[in-house]
Amino acid sequence: MKLYRKEGNILQILSFPGETAEKGDYLLVEDADAGRALIVQVIDVQFASIPGVLEELLRSLPDGGELIKGEDVDPLEIAPHISYIQDASLLICKIRATAENDGLNPSSSWLPSRSQSTIKKLPLPTLLKLAKIDGKLPIVIGGTKDSSLLTIDATSLDGRLNIITGKKETGKSHLSKLLMVNLVGYKATVVVFDLNGEYLSLGLTSDGKRNANFDKIHVLTPSQNFKLALKQLNLHVMLGILIHALHLPGTSAREFRRIWQALKERDSLTLHELGETIRNWNCNQHVRDALFSRYHSLVNSGVFTDNIAEATSLEEYLLKTREHGGAIIMNLRNTSSIDRQIVVEYILGKLVESLSSSQLKAIFLFAEEAHLYLRETYWDDIVTRMRHYGIFTTFITNQPDTIRENIYRQADNIFLFNFTNEHDLDVVSRAARVDAETVRSIARDLPPHHCLALGRVVRDFPIVVKVKAIDVKTMGETRLFFTSATNQ
């Protein structure tokens, strides 16, 4: 390999047949005289621009597109040398760091010698060691191309905003389950908004037996084992549900506040009493109608109950997970859009309440396709206010444009699975810890179950990893028509 040119932090390296390097590989460009080396990552492999190649190709196809046949008497065997030159490739590499005095710095301000530098592949284990990608709380994400394991530190997820994205069926949920299980293993509290019921069996092995986490996984299904009594809610949370989930206008919200306070003073915060009070409340008819329609939405959701015995205490579940860790899976499968928003409003409000009163240290929130239930104002809330309370979110989506740009800009870690759509890649490349060229070039070619890890977890050295398998029962599979038809 030979150093060809450098433009900004892009290095172009000429590579000859036999010197195989692929997208994602790391190379070490060592300048012995300077006593430093550049660590670069191959982000694209192109044909080297060899003069005369076009003529060479054209003359092999002169006969109306059909190959002209003939015999070459090539006594000096020049043909292999022609192929050798023709097959030379140009490696487009991104400079990631400079290795100097046993340390790494992100500088790319120096120029290694073009004639004297040696270029060799940098094995990932060596890179991981150099970059100190390990840690006290290891999470093995999977295997890299050269069969080494990529182990990240659980603390690099702590206090961070993470995004797992990629197109359908590339393995996003699988990775989020892996992270979740490991976090629970380190006694963390995890809350999951499970849109498709994919996480319900985290406590079971693939053959349906209980695994070590069985007792730590708590699945809550709205209107089944997750019901709320009005007394459990404070006014702030209830108003959040009415205004943001049920779009109650401001004037009506003010009336509701009075009604709520009146009921609370009478100690009769029940659904039944709420309905009666709205009916008899002295207010404008339009306001009454507005309040009534929301009241019926609450009743019809099935989430609220007047029976204290069947009401669920979220605090209790959270406290259960505090000592030994655990995951609360909010099963939002088969839940209507309005009901989902009601549940999410309640959970987030309650989490902030619990965290601000220091009942909990911090929680890891996993939100799948959050745009389907998260109200507009919560996006900013999650990355700013809620993070300070100790809610560390991981967004999981196959529609990257549904996550706001400012979320990408503030994301600390991105686990990127395959995308082929230019628009999707554009969106992801807005993340502050990612460079657009890397995202566009590498993500496009990722095979299923391979992800490009970016950000703090890999100390800003993007690494492609095949996510390891976990022994958890698969749920949330798509119900197919033809499979059922064949089985019958």
């Binding site: 005369g52 003529e55 060479e56 002209i68 003939g70 008497v73 090539d74 006594p75 000096l76 030159i85």
Partner: protein
């Protein structure tokens, strides 16, 4: 097929490279290729502007074309490194086939040029031709001379192996030059005639002029294909013209070429040969496809030059380094690069 000459090419090629000095200098990317020769001697030339109209004859004929190419790929402290390649292309049953010889790479020095040249001459042609008595060619003439030897050999092979065909040469049928001895060209034409083949030589460039105008520019307003006859062309001795010269405009487009046809062939047969060529080959801008392919196949691309430089570097340890371009060095942006033509 007699392969004595190609074998000698290989032996001399390897021998010359093995004895090359350790260092070689690159030619500053100046690529000089040679394709045929140009004619410059004419007197009292006339062009008959009444066209001989042609109609394609579809009678099945084999068309074979011969061409060679040479290029200087580097310089050493004592000489030059050159490559030579030749190709025969033939069209039979509506398909093109080729046989390509080379590249043969030679390291030519003042010391070995005579030996290389004379050995090649003797190997195939048994005797040295008349010009050899004047001494070996200069170093700069060597690439074209060696290419000419290969070209004559390929032409002889084509003439000897084909019956009742059309043989296309690149260049003219002018003989008596250092590159084309008269008796050698005569032998080739005679061999072809004996086998009922006709030799047609197409020149891409000509300096033949009538009233100051190139003969290929004086085209009458007539629909092609047609030929224009020339008269009165005489060359200075010892050069002789072994063909009659025509201007050939064989297809649509504004181009026409000088076409030499063996003068020992009857005028009717000559016209018929061109008509058979029209019926058996493709034409673009009046140039036959078979000859075009022969040219394309033997031409060296920049990629091949790199590969050959790679070969001599790896196999024979020649280190190629850039020699400063004096024009660039002295005149900067105003220096247009060195010319070796």
């Amino acid at each position: 097929m007699d392969t004595t000459l190609p074998r000698q090419f290989i032996e001399l090629s390897l021998h010359s490279l093995k004895n090359a000095p350790v260092q070689a200098f690159q030619l500053n990317q100046q690529i000089v290729q040679q394709f045929g020769s140009m004619d410059v001697h004419e007197q009292a030339l006339r062009l008959r502007l009444e066209p001989l109209l042609l109609r394609p004859l579809r009678e099945e004929k084999i068309v074979v074309a011969v061409d060679t190419s040479t290029i200087k790929i580097g310089e050493t402290s004592t000489g030059i490194v050159i490559a030579v390649r030749g190709a025969n292309v033939w069209k039979q049953n509506r398909r093109y086939r080729y046989m390509r010889f080379g590249p043969f790479i030679f390291h030519i020095t003042e010391e070995n040029k005579k030996q290389v040249y004379e050995t090649l001459e003797r190997t195939y042609f048994s005797s040295l031709h008349e010009h050899s008595h004047q001494g070996a060619p200069s170093l700069l003439q060597m690439p074209t001379r060696i290419a000419s030897i290969l070209e004559r050999w390929l032409q002889t092979m084509a003439a000897k192996t084909m019956n009742n065909g059309l043989i296309l040469f690149d260049g003219s049928l002018t003989a008596g030059t250092a590159e084309t001895p008269t008796h050698r060209m005569k032998e080739i034409l005679e061999t072809a005639r004996k086998r009922d083949s006709v030799v047609l030589a197409f020149s891409k460039m000509t300096n033949l002029r009538v009233n100051g105008h190139r003969i290929t520019d004086l085209l009458p307003e007539h629909k092609p294909p047609y030929l224009l006859e020339t008269e009165g062309l005489k060359l200075k001795p010892p050069m002789v013209l072994l063909g009659d010269v025509y201007v050939a405009r064989l297809s649509k487009g504004n181009l026409a070429f000088r076409l030499d046809i063996d003068k020992e062939v009857s005028p009717e047969t000559r016209i018929e040969a061109v008509e058979k060529l029209l019926g058996n080959d493709l034409f673009a801008e009046s140039y036959p496809e078979t000859l075009r392919l022969a040219h394309i196949l033997c031409t060296f691309t920049a990629n091949e030059v790199l590969a050959m430089q790679h070969f001599v570097t790896r196999r024979f340890g020649l280190q190629i380094i850039n020699r400063p371009d004096m024009h660039r060095l002295l005149f900067g942006l105003f220096g247009k690069g060195e010319s070796y033509s």
